[in-house]
């Protein structure tokens, strides 16, 4: 049971890494995510059913998501509309596209075929079934994390981070900000779709509604992660995002598992997620207000001390 939470959380954490790139690093409120997650699931499912090998299916899913992200960035760049609107447009269009990919149906099962999650117990045959799934997912998630870390330590990744912090600086450094946005959103949605492709194989079906509410869930996970520790190093930021994703999934699991005692149904979880995000925002705000008040107090005390010293020095002179 606990292994299940971790597998779920780790698959989810790849999606949250994608949300991290768009929301936190690129500072682009991207809602494409809700569509591209299901696109990844649909593409991976159909590819596997058509007999494409497993890594090929995941690559197709990732590329599909990357195209969706690039479309959002292009709408934003060319039509000069806010990122939010560009994302909503792509997300809405993707709903139809996803049903097309699924052959006109909203839901396709992935039963009696080889998937990543039927392969893991074969590869790690020395482990029990649930542990094999966990180890396999952990390996994939770690590889993705390390690749993301390396990317954001490379010159291109750093310039994408700089764009999110200050667009004028990127322009001043002779870089086309539009191109960086396309690359950033393609990467973000590629990861999101990859996560969708994995989830479809784990739960054994692809659904056109799979991505609903993903953005908010991703933000909740990012915010939980930000409570864990503070850092500006990318390897620690991605680590805390993954931990946040697992904690979020655990919270939701226990909400489902024990929630019936207080008459909670699975359909209440979206409300809970929203409240979780709001509470996180409130806590973060109180914290930063408290720390700046603290800094002000310290500065005042320091000033007082300096004045005291000067006074003493003057007194001594006289």
């Amino acid at each position: 049971m606990l292994e299940g939470i971790f597998v779920d959380g780790l698959i989810f954490s790849i999606m949250v890494l994608g949300v991290l790139i768009s929301y936190r690093i690129l500072d682009f409120a991207d809602l494409t995510c809700d569509g591209s997650f299901a696109t990844g699931a649909a593409l991976a499912t159909m590819a596997i059913l058509k007999g494409v090998n497993l890594s090929g299916a995941l690559v197709i899913a990732t590329l599909g998501g990357a195209v969706a992200g690039a479309v959002t960035a292009t709408i934003h760049n060319r039509l000069k509309v806010p990122g939010l609107l560009a994302g909503i447009l792509t997300m809405t269009m993707l709903y139809s596209v996803n049903i097309r990919i699924l052959g006109g149906r909203a839901n396709i099962p992935l039963l009696r075929v080889t998937t990543v999650y039927t392969r893991f117990p074969e590869i790690f045959s020395f482990l029990s079934n649930s542990w094999a799934l966990l180890v396999g997912t952990l390996l994939i998630a770690l590889v993705i994390k390390v690749l993301v870390d390396l990317f954001f330590r490379a010159d291109l990744g750093i310039s994408i981070g700089a764009l999110g912090s200050n667009e004028q600086m990127i322009v001043s450094m002779g870089i086309n900000p539009r191109l960086l946005k396309v690359i950033g959103l393609a990467l973000s949605n590629g990861l999101i779709a990859l996560s969708g492709g994995l989830l479809a194989q784990y739960q054994g079906f692809a659904d056109a509604n799979l991505g609903q509410g993903m953005v908010v869930q991703g933000l909740a996970a990012i915010m939980i992660g930000e409570f864990l520790f503070d850092s500006n190093r990318i390897s620690l930021i991605t680590l805390r995002v993954m931990l946040g994703a697992i904690i979020y999934k655990a919270l939701m699991f226990f909400g489902r598992y024990y929630g019936y005692h207080i008459n909670l149904t699975p359909s209440d979880l979206k409300l809970l997620t929203g409240i979780l995000v709001i509470v996180s925002l409130i806590i973060a705000q109180t914290r930063s207000a408290a720390s700046s008040a603290d800094a002000r107090k310290k500065a005042l005390r320091r000033n007082k001390e300096i004045r005291q010293h000067q006074k003493e020095a003057n007194d001594a002179k006289n």
Partner: protein
């Protein structure tokens, strides 16, 4: 180096809010020139800079940079030649990134690749560069730039602009938001770098004394036109009261001729 021909810029054309910000300006900037630009608010100094840098599209005229017509070249491409520093210290640096990340972005102009260039050798180089600022920033490579003071940020912006090796500097009141001592430090560094790398420079300033003390040429703008263009020898004997007087006489002449037109 930079040649501007009959440049004009009209905001909100053909509406009641129509504003002629730049009216047919001709300007020839020679290589190595250090021009100070003065003029009252709304005289078009910043608009002129925005047109040269490519932030705004022009309404008419031509901008020729190094013999190439760049009138319709996007801002980020012109940035290879032009380094620009704004009044607001926050515009030149990325607050949410560390000093070293900021500096590696500035280290080479243009699109970046997947190489990880930030190594110990580069860090050493950045430390050496930061030492020139004598602000103790060489010890803070891993700190986020958002933690620095305005003066430190502007000095860092200047250093980063220099690191990216432009041929030309556009300084848009880049010391105006700083306290006097920091403004002095940044201004000293600016003149040092301009001399060392022989940078062609245009500097907007509201400080008349600065306008007279620095550079080899002074231009004064008013209502979208260049109304005064003094060379080095004319500048030598200049004082603030003289400059103000010149401004007033030119303005009066204009008013007189305008009135003349009305009577006719």
């Amino acid at each position: 180096m930079l040649k501007i021909e009959a440049l004009s810029k009209v905001f909100y054309p053909n509406t009641v809010n129509e504003k002629r910000a730049i009216e047919y300006i001709d300007l020839n900037v020679n290589e190595g020139d250090f021009i100070t630009v003065v003029g009252s608010n709304g005289s078009g100094k910043s608009t002129l800079f925005n047109l040269i840098a490519g932030t705004y599209p022009v309404t008419g005229g031509k901008i020729i940079l190094n013999g190439k017509d760049v009138t319709h070249t996007p801002e980020y491409k012109r940035a290879f030649t032009i380094g620009r520093i704004f009044q607001d210290p926050n515009v030149g640096t990325a607050a949410k990134m560390s000093l070293e990340d900021n500096m590696i972005t500035a280290h080479r102009k243009g699109m970046k690749g997947l190489k990880i260039s930030l190594n110990s050798e580069k860090r050493q180089l950045f430390k050496e560069e930061l030492k020139q600022l004598s602000m103790g920033l060489e010890e803070r490579l891993k700190d986020n730039v958002g933690l620095l003071s305005g003066g430190q940020r502007q000095a860092l912006t200047l250093l980063m602009t220099i690191l990216s090796r432009p041929q030309m500097l556009l300084l848009d009141e880049h010391t105006a938001a700083l306290d006097p001592s920091n403004a002095q430090i940044v201004m000293d560094l600016t003149t040092q770098f301009i001399e060392r790398y022989n940078l062609t420079t245009l500097m907007v300033t509201h400080n008349m004394q600065h306008a007279i003390d620095f550079g080899n040429r002074l231009i004064m703008m008013d209502e979208g036109k260049i109304i005064l263009d003094l060379n080095a020898s004319e500048k030598e004997s200049l004082t603030v009261p003289k400059l103000v007087k010149m401004f007033k006489t030119i303005k009066k002449k204009e008013y007189a001729s305008d009135e003349g037109l009305l009577i006719l």
